[in-house]
């Protein structure tokens, strides 16, 4: 039942829906700083009011009716005034300008450098964690690559020993040191089996690391989102503290009393 443009379920004539939808958009734009739930609740309430007022408004001309409804309802700024953070609605009230200036100087002298240092440490930590993640995946990838190449060599040693020998002669395959001496103790077929065995161990290690990496990635994503959420909340809290105004009695200034 929303006054949204272009919705088939809209119970209003098209032109009325457009006018009402524009009005709701203006209200919504005024509610940018309000929580989504409160925003939705408030918009539903206004929609309900506009719907009923429109139904009750006499007249033949639909446009004139909805315009009269909106005129009676008031400007969006008036309607949402109490839903906004204090600083946005206290136009005309006394402002402690010197206090703001002093606060600004203090923040510029102390708050910003300290804040920058803290942000620097935080960014450094996050970058280090990201670097560790990259290194982890690089190792996993190397293990998989080594496993694949070694397995290929193992099969080559078993199935095409001449080709393997030729590649050794050409220097494309080299087994030096203790590994070469160890392999020399076995026949070509056993050498191939041993290579496949080693390759399986490397491939399994790489595959396992990739699998575990998903958990690691999820954990780090959580850590990052937690950090950014914390920073966002910190910023919002600071902004709210700066804009907070003392609460007073309900303002009825917009209600005018008619002389009887």
């Amino acid at each position: 039942m929303r006054f949204e443009k272009g919705k088939a379920m809209n119970p209003y004539p098209e032109v009325v829906a457009k006018i009402a939808g524009d009005y709701m958009e203006r209200v919504k734009s005024q509610l940018r700083l309000v929580s989504t739930q409160e925003q939705g609740d408030f918009l539903r309430e206004i929609e309900s009011h506009l719907y009923e007022a429109y139904q009750q408004m006499p007249g033949e001309d639909d446009v004139a009716r909805i315009l009269a409804v909106l005129r009676n309802f008031g400007e969006p700024a008036e309607v949402v005034s109490d839903r906004l953070p204090g600083a946005l609605v206290r136009s005309g009230t006394k402002r402690n300008l010197p206090l703001y200036v002093a606060g600004g100087i203090l923040i510029a002298l102390f708050g910003l450098p300290l804040g920058s240092a803290g942000a620097g440490v935080l960014v450094g930590l996050l970058a280090a964690v990201a670097g560790l993640l990259v290194a982890y995946y690089a190792v996993a990838g190397s293990f998989l690559l080594v496993g694949a190449v070694t397995m290929l060599m193992g099969f080559l040693r078993i199935l095409l020993p001449q080709v393997f020998e030729r590649l050794v002669t050409l220097g494309y395959i080299q087994f030096n040191g203790p590994v070469g001496e160890f392999l020399d103790n076995f026949s070509p077929a056993y050498q191939g089996l041993l290579l496949i065995l080693f390759a399986s161990v490397f491939a399994a290690a790489g595959w396992g690391m990739l699998r575990m990496g998903n958990h690691l990635l999820r954990g780090l994503r959580f850590l990052f989102s937690l950090t950014f959420d914390w920073m966002r909340r910190l910023g919002q809290g600071a902004r709210r503290r700066l804009r907070r105004e003392p609460r007073d009695e309900p303002r009825l200034s917009r209600v005018s009393y008619v002389k009887q």
Binding site: M1, R44, E45, I46, S48, V80, Y257, Q260
Partner: protein, 106 residues
Amino acid sequence: MGALYDERHYGYSLVRVLSESGSISLKEGTVYPILARLDRDGLVRSEWVESDQGPPRKYYALTSAGRQLFDALSLELDVLVSLVQQKWKAPEQSGNNRKRLAVRKG
């Protein structure tokens, strides 16, 4: 708050009650910030109720705290009204006295 004292209302019906009573002229949308503030302060409670005539309506009713505050404010207002009435009566009475004195003198 007076309109919500004995029965619950949703925004539109509250506006109708206020305007039909003839004592208050207001932009209809301005009741919502006031209702929101009362709700936030725990002076009214609200609930959404489905309506067979259109979108759901959000009904408001005074809480016990709201009633207590309204009673207290009504008492204060009565006191203020009686004070103002006394001040208005005082000059009239003194004026009458002067007239009487003038008559006596004459």
